[in-house]
Symmetry: C2
Subunit: 598 residues, 2 copies
């Protein structure tokens, strides 16, 4: 967030207001104080604000009102602390931080804890610094977590950059860095891997928070080893028991309700049915698409959902305010409405059907009825962050033809099977025809070409494979520079010429997602910043994404969101079979396998 003065620097001003010696800059009058500390609703309270912080909360702050004091009448309205998203990736929205903030601030979000893991895979520490700088210009609190696992799968892929333990040891002290981003390489942590250990140690030494990510339902020795290493939270819990076992052991489960993550219903029962103390639990989004932000919302959506799932509104609020603030050690600044804290105040008609009526940020009215009132200019990224596509040359159809020694006949191929809404792929074996040394796709049986085009170092490398499940039934191709986590360029197609055109189209615009149908570009989402983020508003990104998905469906894709499966084809940390720039990878055994079996 824009540099705010620490409490102790403005304390004398706050004391002057609270004692009546100086006027407040803002007084919010007569609202219902939603108290997330004591878990109470207290009607008829006034909040006096100065220097961006709360001076006092009293039944009658009339004595704090001077001739220049702005007064906001809140009679009948709830006054609650701004909502916080405890773990998320801005890049998942395909928006810049600025556009993300523009979308979520009017909905009541005043703090996000962002892990720029994606951009770090493209630009490394430099990309993280860019995000920290943009974050620092925001009107709300955007805390950056230092990515810990770049590349995600060392030895199985080359990302655009690498984050070393030395990088972490340095960056963890940057202003704006709130802790270490999700430590995903849990086997390495449980194995006492040196680099992971050093990153965690540097973070703990700095007093900051180590983010966890133990993505396995197993809770045996490796799980306990991971806990002993220090990660303080985990957003990978899917089942109630996973959340509870972590909470008991001092981790804070961060229960997700993202665009695709629907983890709240199962896990909130730990509180609503089992009656566990809610202080150990947190709500977050992890990944939210622009369309979700625009159409459904952000943490306001999570709040409504948690309440729908039976959670007491005040408890649900604690899970996205004070609990989050305490977890990251920023509860002297945010997470509740109390003297000294930031004047980040949301007004709403009710908690039960929560919609932000007004959002006060840093003591200023920042949004009303969903409209942003602040001036928030688009962030001007340095040019180099718009130059992330490094291809050796224009691609041609033959680049996507997998050649073998044999002239004709059949070969047995290892094929990646994708399923809607499932992150894991399946390892299929299919017989494919060979024509003139070229292995042929089998469109009738939905086995299509899939390729990873190296895009970070212009090596010219194209790794070809086959994929099942996209359903394209006419000549087409879809290419994307969003290609978790290494973010090379992925392309799937039923026509190799269309595949080349899709890739070349992205090369021309600096990255994004392109759908090509029968030789023509049918849809395009431009993501010029790192090949990951648009420079457009969330509404535009949402619209372009919707068009892109529609175009995929028009090509025969049977999945509602076929793009997600495309973008995950290179995710070599989740089983079973993935494409990497180093070849086809069996992620159950963490080793490369040939596309065509000998």
């Amino acid at each position: 967030m824009r540099a705010r003065k620490p409490w102790h620097e403005v304390a004398p001003q706050l004391v002057d207001v609270a004692t009546g010696r100086a006027p407040a800059e803002l007084v919010v009058r007569g609202g219902r104080w939603v108290n997330v500390l004591t878990r109470e609703l207290l009607p008829g309270m006034d909040i006096a604000v100065r220097a961006g912080r709360i001076a006092c909360i009293v039944a009658d702050a009339g004595y704090c009102i001077g001739p220049d004091t702005r007064v906001i009448e809140a009679a009948g309205l709830c006054m609650l602390p701004g909502l916080a998203d405890a773990h998320m990736h801005v890049e998942s929205s395909m928006c810049t931080i600025t556009e993300y903030v523009r979308a979520v601030l009017p909905r009541g979000t005043t703090a996000i804890f962002a892990d720029p893991h994606e951009i770090a895979n493209v630009f490394g520490l430099d990309g993280v610094r860019m995000m920290v700088e943009e974050a620092a210009a925001m009107p709300i609190n955007v805390f950056i977590q230092m990515p810990s696992c770049v590349p995600s799968a060392p030895g199985l892929e080359n990302a655009g950059a690498e984050i070393t333990a030395e990088d972490v040891a340095q960056a963890i002290h940057w202003p704006g860095i709130i802790g270490l981003g999700e430590v995903m390489n849990f086997p390495a942590v449980a194995a006492n891997d040196g680099a992971m250990r050093d990153m965690i140690a540097a973070t703990m030494r700095s007093g900051k928070t180590v983010g966890g990510h133990y993505a396995s339902p197993a809770m045996e020795r490796e799980f306990h080893g991971y806990l002993a290493a220090g990660p303080a939270d985990d957003h990978e819990t899917m089942r109630e028991r996973e959340a509870i076992e972590r909470a008991r052991r001092g981790q804070r489960p961060m229960i997700r309700y993202g665009s695709a993550w629907h983890d709240v219903a199962a896990q909130i029962r730990a509180i609503t049915e089992r009656g566990l103390d809610p202080q150990q639990f947190i709500l977050c989004t992890d990944d939210v698409h622009a369309a979700t932000l625009v159409q459904e919302g952000h943490m306001d959506r999570v709040l409504r959902h948690a309440i729908d799932e039976g959670c007491d509104p005040l408890v649900a609020l604690q899970l996205m305010t004070i609990n989050t603030a305490r977890h990251f050690g920023v509860d002297r600044d945010l997470g509740c409405l109390a003297p000294g804290r930031y004047a980040d105040i949301v007004l709403a008609d009710s908690l039960e059907d929560f919609r932000a009526a007004a959002v006060i940020v840093n003591g200023e009215l920042a949004a009303q009825d969903g409209d942003l009132l602040l001036d928030l200019p688009p962030w001007q990224h340095e040019q180099r962050f718009r130059q992330s596509l490094h291809l050796a040359r224009e691609l041609v159809a033959t680049d996507f033809q997998l050649r073998v020694a044999q002239v004709k006949g059949e070969v047995r191929a290892n094929v990646i099977g994708v399923t809607e809404n499932q992150a894991p792929t399946t390892h299929l074996r299919r017989q494919l025809r060979v024509v003139d040394h070229v292995v042929q796709p089998d469109r009738e049986n939905d086995v299509l070409r899939a390729a990873l085009v190296e895009r970070h170092r212009a090596t010219g490398e194209v790794v070809n494979g086959f994929v099942y499940g996209f359903g394209f039934n006419l000549p087409c191709a879809v290419a994307s520079t969003v290609a978790h986590d290494s973010h090379h360029l992925l392309v799937v197609g039923s026509d190799d010429g269309d595949m080349a055109l899709a890739v070349n189209t992205l090369a021309r615009i600096g990255g994004g997602v392109a759908v090509v149908r029968e030789g023509e570009v049918a849809a395009l989402v431009g993501l010029p910043i790192a090949g990951l983020m648009s420079d457009q508003r969330a509404e535009v990104v949402a619209q372009q994404s919707a068009q892109m998905l529609a175009a995929m469906r028009e090509c025969g894709c049977r999945m509602e969101n076929g793009f997600m499966q495309l973008a995950l084809l290179a995710l070599v940390v989740i089983p079973e079979l993935r494409l990497s720039d180093m070849g086809l990878v069996d992620v159950t055994r963490f080793e490369r396998v040939p596309v065509i079996e000998a």
Copy 2:
């Protein structure tokens, strides 16, 4: 506490144990895990320990047991985190830190947050450093709060030393200093006094915790000004409403159950009856006498009491474990039983009638059935800390005779009235006879001589006055170098010769409390360290104190604990009338008044 390695330094060892690659040093088997995070009792759990920290808590830690692993069977026992006293003054027990720890460790206390305010009034920063050094040698966690108000009443008294804002800015960074001790001068804080502001700012800047002390039932503008200044807790709440209003505003009320403070019954109802979220509340002792420690206990006594007052045992435990740890930002080390935390584990038959059966500290069995098993040598204080009594000369009876210009007749005197168990005194006016220029006490009406003997700078000054309420009905005197907060030497007597003997007796032994009856020393509590602390065990101090109180009663004192009233005669921060080295002080108007009215 003895230097413990930070979690990140021993994490690899913990990970090795948790994953089964290395044996634990200690395994506690089959106990009921008292989980203060989720508020659950979980039977049949094992805790594996290494390097003083918990490696894992699992249903069966058999795999962590090697040939050299110590195994403690805890079948049927509760396993709970060590208890913490969130705010207290070791000096109130008249014991050294070491003897305090010896008394409380076997009762389950493994962390205390001590404000050495008393010794700071005698030895200043030097005394604080001495306490930090002794604290660092303890087997349990003794955190020191940096005293903020020394002297307590600047301008109305001269203490033995002064703590400046510069002192605080320096000492706040010492290892072992956990925050700023109770900021008692609340009018100064609300007035934006520069020194108080600087001390608070230095503490907040360091990320440490500012202790509060707003000793007034008024909750008007000054109260809100105090809150806006930053103190994060307050142990001065007496009524439920005072606690609630602070909790709502982000302060943590620290509810006291000390030897004389009985604040729990009224305030715990905020949780038990009103149903407020308990996360904002904390329990502490503030001041406990040696006799209480020895006969009734420490935090175990507080726990039993809170439960007696209707508090759920798990909630009561939270108020003296995890809430306290979070408040001071040490919850990664203590406050719950979880991986990575200190292996400070208490075993007990039940929570309902809590008695510590065994106490494990730093992974070692430290106490069993009330007996300390650790070697805890008495602390050897540097000689200068035993030389705190600086008197210009031996005192004689005439030193305590208040002389006036008139030869005989009567004068009207301002007399301090004391009442059992009440900190405030009353301002009485009495007619006293004058004989040969000397104002006479009026023993028949219980108006006795009271004097403050300057003892820090050997000025030779004796401030004489009169006191009502001690009831001495034979020739006697009681002197004490415990004389809050400036800790000069106070003496009350019905015989001026006995007064001189009492003072001279203390001078000889380096301080303490002396009861002299008819020319003979009837009881003596030696407090050679700073004139505040004994070098004996708590049991001895308790016994000597009991004898001293009995001796006072034998002299006719009608109060159960007349010593407390004696020791508070110089407390120039609490109304109405007090003795200071600068004269008699009217603490309702904060100004000096003559003993004899003109």
